[in-house]
């Protein structure tokens, strides 16, 4: 049976785009794809600009395609008119590339807050413009008042602005505004060497540095059609699971801490710290930054590291179930987490939310399972899915994933093959394109890139799972009370840095 993607009318397929095809479509194909997105037959994976071209990555069950539309006069038909999840991406494309979505319902700037030295940094470039005052969406009614939170917060979290419109304690509307951590990663990527680009990819979002580096490496390896040594593949998975473990431990504690249940925070913090120390013992970096490089991994596992991981797993197996029990049996804590911040399953599906946000609302998407990249095609693990969609469900998904990750680490350690850890990069002197996915602890990270003949990166786009999770927070908080917002926000724990790029 032909997949839906193949039936899309397209002018031609791009040469050398791997592992999935890139279709160059006209207005008709673009509109048809938009329609499929709106009806839920396709899921949006990303939308980004590339010179005069706008690319859109879509998912059909397990097949991915990149659709490319060449903008004449710098405009393309808006996707967000029919499919709202594309809205913020279209606004970002306009800020970065200067390509306008025709008919888009929302034309306010998104990432460009008016502080940049040059406007449209990825497009033709122009003098920075002082934007008109940002108009927040109106909410009208008697007794409504606004509470502005951020971008500077009381703690050391990242900057983001939240505009809450409330009626007393009830939240009527939440509107987010981001862009304060924009670092121009994609501009820096363009024209940089592969080594530098790999380092940049690892710095998009520090807590998911392994996942970003892995996704980037997969994209390069797909573009260059390289084989990675088996030992390197297993080492990558080991790093990714350690990273997931550390972040989930941290998150479970932090959610409880936001309900002022500090003892969980303290104990989970100990487990997280032990995980990071084990990572340091294995790969001589606590966050394992720059350890995954295109072609393999840069450091082999330190021989004494495995013993540390075994000790960690034994310790966690003893302590973690008791913490879970404590979480489950504390009525005052359950009272806060159960039924607060519900994300409806239709919304999670429409937005294609990945990670625990999607999986807590019935969307069982996991890049490790859907794309089955090595070594996850041979490892045994489950993807936990719940349907409640509340804060409690998101905590439980994390708890289940911690258990799965611990089991995965044991499998990886048992199967770890010997051999080389890196293959030299093969430059074939031609332009190549590739897509790579990796499952970070938040959800799927996508990297698309085009390599020039001399081995440099021509254009690279990195898309964090948070792009599709942040809008759901706006929906989840409605009808909750103001004081529950920090709790809901922590249970999402979306990335600011990965989103702002």
């Amino acid at each position: 049976m032909a997949t839906l993607i193949e039936t899309l009318p397209h002018q031609r397929k791009a040469d050398h785009h791997r592992p999935w095809p890139r279709l160059i479509v006209g207005a008709e194909g673009w509109r048809l794809a938009t329609g499929y997105l709106a009806t839920g037959h396709l899921t949006l994976l990303g939308l980004w600009g590339d010179g005069p071209i706008v690319h859109m990555a879509v998912l059909d069950q397990r097949d991915v395609a990149v659709l490319s539309y060449e903008c004449k006069k710098g405009t393309f038909p808006s996707v967000s008119t029919a499919h709202p999840p594309a809205g913020r991406m279209e606004r970002a494309v306009r800020d970065l590339n200067g390509l306008n979505a025709v008919g888009a319902p929302d034309t306010r700037p998104w990432l460009d807050l008016g502080f940049w030295e040059t406007g449209r940094p990825l497009g033709k470039g122009c003098a920075a413009t002082k934007p008109a005052p940002y108009k927040f969406l109106p909410a009208e009614g008697e007794g409504l008042h606004q509470v502005a939170v951020g971008p500077v917060h009381a703690s050391i979290i990242e900057p983001g602005h939240f505009r809450l419109t409330c009626n007393g304690e009830h939240v009527v509307r939440l509107e987010q505004r981001f862009g304060w951590t924009h670092k121009g990663v994609e501009s820096l990527m363009a024209g940089s060497s592969l080594n530098k680009a790999a380092q940049l990819a690892g710095r998009v979002s520090g807590d998911s540095t392994v996942a970003y580096a892995w996704a980037f490496a997969q994209a390069v390896e797909a573009a260059r059609q390289m084989q990675v040594p088996p030992r390197a593949i297993y080492l990558r998975a080991l790093m990714a699971e350690l990273e997931r473990l550390a972040n989930h431990f941290g998150d479970i504690g932090a959610v409880c801490n936001d309900a002022s249940f500090a003892i969980m925070h303290a104990h989970c913090g100990i487990l997280r710290e032990r995980t990071l120390r084990a990572a340091h013992a294995c790969f001589s970096h606590r966050l394992m930054m720059d350890r995954i490089v295109p072609g393999g991994v840069s450091n082999d596992l330190a021989p004494e590291g495995l013993a540390q991981i075994r000790a960690l797993l034994e310790d966690a197996k003893l302590k973690f179930p008791r913490l879970v029990e404590l979480y489950d049996n504390t009525a005052s804590l359950q009272d806060r987490t159960v039924t607060s911040g519900i994300v409806r399953a239709e919304l999670a599906r429409q937005y294609g939310a990945g990670g625990y946000v999607g999986r807590a609302s019935g969307r069982g998407f996991d890049a490790r399972r859907a794309f089955a990249y090595a070594p996850y095609d041979t490892l045994i693990f489950e993807v936990p899915v719940l349907n409640a969609g509340d804060v409690d469900a998101r905590v439980w998904i994390r708890i289940r994933e911690v258990e799965q990750s611990m089991a995965l680490i044991e499998q990886i350690m048992a199967r770890l093959p010997n051999g080389a850890i890196r293959t030299p990069l093969a430059g074939n002197g031609q332009v190549r394109e590739g897509v790579g996915f990796a499952e970070a602890f938040r959800g799927d990270v996508m990297v698309w890139l085009r390599l020039a003949g001399d081995g440099r990166v021509e254009r690279c786009h990195l898309r964090d799972a948070s792009w599709f999770q942040w809008p759901l927070l706006e929906a989840a908080i409605e009808d909750n009370i103001v004081a529950d917002f920090p709790l809901c926000n922590k249970s999402f724990n979306c990335s600011y840095s990965g989103h702002d790029l």
């Binding site: 008042h145 606004q146 509470v147 502005a148 939170v149 917060h153 009381a154 703690s155 809450l164 007393g168 304690e169 409880c256 936001d258 309900a259 002022s260 249940f261 500090a262 003892i263 925070h265 303290a266 104990h267 100990i270 504390t330 005052s332 804590l333 009272d335 806060r336 009370i481 103001v482 004081a483 529950d484 917002f485 920090p486």
Partner: protein, 305 residues
């Protein structure tokens, strides 16, 4: 009077330390609150542009009100210098006016957090104060006086025995004390989340010596409530008005022990419970009010209950 002033930061530091130890943290040193005060007093005051004179005066009013109230509670001896001048109802009135001014200060600068904090604080107070008055009525009916020294003396005497109404009153008083002192589960004194704050949200705009006074008032209030509970329901060791130095020493040691026990109990309670939703607070305090009411009614039904 000086004693409560000197002791209150120590109690706050002690509670913090015990909490930290319960969470397997080392925690700040016991004397940290004193250092915080010294640091704040050295710092300059940053005022919002639209702050009125009220905003600057209020810290002193709050501090004075709370200090006087705290000084009226018998700590280790009854028959205080000023006990003729004010009774338990006056103490509640002093605390109530301090809170009223604090809520005003939260509204004065016009930030949204201050407004949220003040609105929550007043909501909590509107339930906590009647509950507190009910408790006072119960005690006054039992002891036949609203004078704290007299009450404590009566409690020490053998005439009291085990009474249901007093049991209800002590539970209600503890609930009110938790709410009034902004402790978990009503408020979290250690939070950094602006949107969940009650007490902290009102004082967000304060700095320097103003903040030092407000912090000190909050610690005084904690000491006040612990002393009050100790004085009314555990008055053992309390030295009489004409006690000799030995009795006074026993009283002092007993008082410190009571404070320590109170601090440990508070820390344990705060560790095992999560914060409740804002709209659950009225139910919590409503229960306190009902207990107080029940205690008073029981006394009307039968003098011996």
């Amino acid at each position: 009077m000086l004693l409560v002033l000197l002791l209150s930061p120590l109690l706050a530091g002690f509670v913090r330390k015990v909490k930290a130890r319960l969470q397997r943290r080392i925690g700040p040193p016991l004397l940290q609150p004193y250092r915080d005060l010294a640091r704040l007093l050295r710092k300059e005051v940053v005022l919002a542009q639209n702050a009125s004179w009220l905003f600057r005066v209020i810290p002193y009013i709050i501090f004075a009100g709370t200090w006087v109230a705290a000084a009226l509670i018998p700590t280790f001896r009854s028959g205080l210098l000023f006990s003729w001048s004010a009774d338990l109802i006056a103490i509640i009135a002093l605390l109530g006016s301090a809170r009223f001014f604090l809520a005003l200060a939260g509204l004065d600068v016009g930030t949204s957090f201050g407004g949220i904090g003040s609105s929550r604080e007043v909501m909590i107070a509107s339930l906590a104060e009647p509950a507190m008055l009910m408790i006072v009525f119960t005690l006054a009916l039992v002891a036949g006086s609203t004078q704290l020294s007299t009450m404590a003396g009566y409690m020490l005497s053998s005439a009291v025995g085990l009474r249901v109404s007093l049991g209800l009153a002590v539970i209600a008083l503890i609930m009110v004390a938790i709410a009034e002192n902004a402790r978990i589960p009503v408020d979290n004194p250690a939070t950094h989340l602006e949107l969940t704050m009650v007490h902290e949200a009102m004082v967000l705009e304060y700095s320097g010596r103003h903040l030092a006074l407000i912090e000190l008032s909050a610690w005084l209030k904690l000491l006040l409530y612990v002393s009050l509970i100790a004085c009314l329901f555990a008055p053992w060791g309390l030295a009489g008005p004409e006690a000799d130095s030995k009795m006074l020493a026993i009283g002092g040691v007993a008082y410190l022990a009571k404070l320590a026990v109170g601090g440990v109990l508070l820390a344990v309670f705060e560790t095992v419970i999560a914060k409740m939703r804002v709209f659950r607070v009225p139910q919590f305090l409503g229960a306190a009010l009902m207990l107080g009411l029940l205690a008073t009614l029981l006394l009307f039904v039968s003098r011996s209950l």
